[in-house]
């Protein structure tokens, strides 16, 4: 059992947990994720290790309520426990002193981009970060991101906060005005990562994305997470989750993410009904 040491409600749809998992905290590195299963009947879902505190022995995750498991998870509170937590999984981000880099976080992707930006900053890079969401209330961790960035740009689709734009707009400007960007890191919805890659391809800047395919074991045993990169099939859980964005077939990723749409709807309705009864 893994105890929730702290819960923060970041917005109506986004919650953050600090979970006691000392060994994982000791080992976790930027770009890695973990898998959790709430209880005996639960599904295994992957979430990024958005932060870790080796002194406290905790890992932090930020998740968005999208379906049954994440809604259920959000009802848990401080002191409650989660049955299974497995990690750290996935290959850590390759961190080096590249020079100037841009980190782009979209929506709940702001959380997983944070440890990467921090590691890049610590390695001596100049980090420009762009974080964006649909509206003001979905922006979180602004101060955290600012603390690890040389420059931070905030965007909202509806203009309720920061700049009224999607993240690719300032990204394109930066790449146009500044010839000297070595790398771009982007995490967010598949469609956002796809457009980030289209933008950076124009400027020929290497771009790393983190693919959120559907997973089960997350140890390379099942192939649920397969993605197409450079015309080859890869397992996101072990070969990734980070890949060269310019080689990723985002259409395959998005199609595979929709595999269980009807079942997911059924699961959420079933959960809501059961909650009403009890």
């Amino acid at each position: 059992m893994y105890r929730i040491a702290r819960k923060d409600i970041l917005s109506e749809a986004v919650v953050s947990f600090e979970i006691e998992a000392r060994e994982i905290a000791n080992k976790a590195r930027a770009g890695q994720f973990f898998v959790l299963r709430i209880d005996e009947r639960g599904e295994r879902i992957p979430l990024t290790i958005a932060d870790f505190d080796r002194d406290r022995g905790t890992i932090t995750t930020v998740f968005q309520k999208v379906g049954k498991t994440t809604h259920h998870l959000a009802t848990l509170g401080e002191g409650d426990s989660i049955s299974d937590v497995v990690g750290p999984l996935g290959t850590p981000t390759h961190i080096d002193r590249f020079g100037n880099v841009i980190c782009v976080g979209g929506g709940v992707g702001i959380a997983p981009i944070f440890p990467i930006a921090r590691a890049l900053k610590h390695a001596g890079n100049t980090v420009i970060s762009i974080i964006g969401a649909r509206m003001r209330e979905l922006i979180f961790w602004e101060e955290k991101m600012r603390s690890v960035s040389d420059k931070l740009i905030v965007t909202t689709d509806d203009g309720s906060y920061g700049r009224k734009a999607v993240v690719t707009v300032p990204l394109d400007e930066l790449l146009t005005n500044n010839e000297d960007i070595q790398r771009v890191y982007a995490i967010g919805p598949a469609i956002m990562m796809k457009f980030v890659c289209i933008t950076t391809q124009k400027h020929r800047v290497k771009t790393i994305v983190s693919l959120n395919s559907i997973m089960v074991d997350a140890t390379g045993m099942c192939g649920a997470c397969r993605v197409e990169v450079g015309g080859e099939t890869k397992f996101a859980c072990v070969d990734g989750p980070e890949f060269d964005g310019h080689a990723v077939d985002f259409d395959v990723l998005m199609a595979r993410q929709r595999m269980y749409l009807s079942e997911e709807k059924e699961a959420l309705e079933h959960y809501r009904k059961k909650k009403e009864v009890s």
Binding site: I24, K27, E43, G87, V216, T219, G220, M221, M259
Partner: protein, 480 residues
Amino acid sequence: MGERQETERPKKRIPMREQPPGERARNFMEVPYGYTAEEAVEEASRCLQCLKPMCRLGCPVLVDIPAFIKLIREGRFIEAAWKIKEDNALPAVCGRVCPQEIQCESLCILGKKGEPVAIGNLERFVADFERDAGEIRVPEKLPTTGRRIAVIGSGPAGLACAADLAKLGHHVTIFEALHKPGGVLIYGIPEFRLPKIIVEREVDYIKKLGVDVMVNTVIGKLYTIDELLTEGRYDACFIATGAGLPLFLGIPGENLNGIYSANEFLTRANLMKSYLFPEYDTPVKRGRSVAVIGGGNVAMDAARVALRLGAEKVHLIYRRSEAEMPARRAEIHHAREEGVEFNTLTNPVRFLDDGKGNVSGVECIRMELGEPDESGRRKPVPVKGSEFTIPIDVAIPALGTRSNPLLVSNVPGLGLTKKGYIVADEETGMTTKKGVFAGGDIVTGSATVILALGAGRKSAQAIDDYLKWKFWDTRKFAPS
């Protein structure tokens, strides 16, 4: 007395009653019911108690078959179970899943003229009897040695090794990546063939021996082997991580929705209990028309699970003929009885798309047997122009598995074969890295439960020796 039994000995083997095919093809309950005590005694009475029992030579762990059968005949069922357990820690499992027809039963003398003794059924009976009697005996353990051994993987190889080491007085920790121990017995082999409660009981037994079982621990990610040996203060490691990497066909359309590796399909169904969705959260596509590709146990399991999930049609596609199918005969028989359609000498060429990213069909080509290949088997070759399409909404390639590189490719000093399996001495499990032993599918490639179990036992003995003498014989691995 011998004479009297001679005349009364039934000629034919006592069949095991089982759920009727029509009924069982829609539920996940175990297919055979198991023998009653009378049936078991009667079947046991068929055994000739050979002085040179051939059957024993067919068993990879040399279970003393005539001895345990004699105890059954005398009604001493629990002692019979103990007798088996001297050589095989998992009789309830092996009685159910061993390919007896090519092992113990294949060499039984009675098989020469008629039907061999139903050794597997009897093994299953006594193991179940012991369990139902609530008399699971925890054997005596030797005094604590203070030695610590890390076992990685909780499949049959890991469980068997841990049990033996614990009995020898060592402190054993099993590290398992998944949230439940048991390996393929838990995530792969379905409930209707091996009820999970049986595996859980075996694991409980091993815990009773004092073994610590740490689930949710991926070695190679959370700890490396070197960390276990140094910071973890383990004196030795036994790697039993199985051969878990699924193979795909590599044909167009294989990443369409609805196409599962057998590992994924079975893991969803067995480990995650998706047949109980939405009571359990993990979904699985319930195909109406399902294609399973392959001819081994894994393919039969996938096909029969698909039926039980409600498929109207399950097509088993295999490129050779039925005689070459590697699955247990009983599984092939059960699958056919339940309504699985066999398309032998057929090979898939590509998967078709419904335009929305879902699989809608599989194009196949007929094969015919050509010249024998290196292995002496006649090689199937495609028949030109014989392409045809089967409409499907779920496809399950069950083509076997390979070594999962996650752990083994990241252990400095650990020698691997070209295919990524661990190089280990067959008799001891010694690898090229001092203090590290390995056994089971990660050494042999996909094999059987009993072979994995046997490898675990051999390594337990070798580890015990190693801890005494710290002797490491690496000459075996020196390039010749």
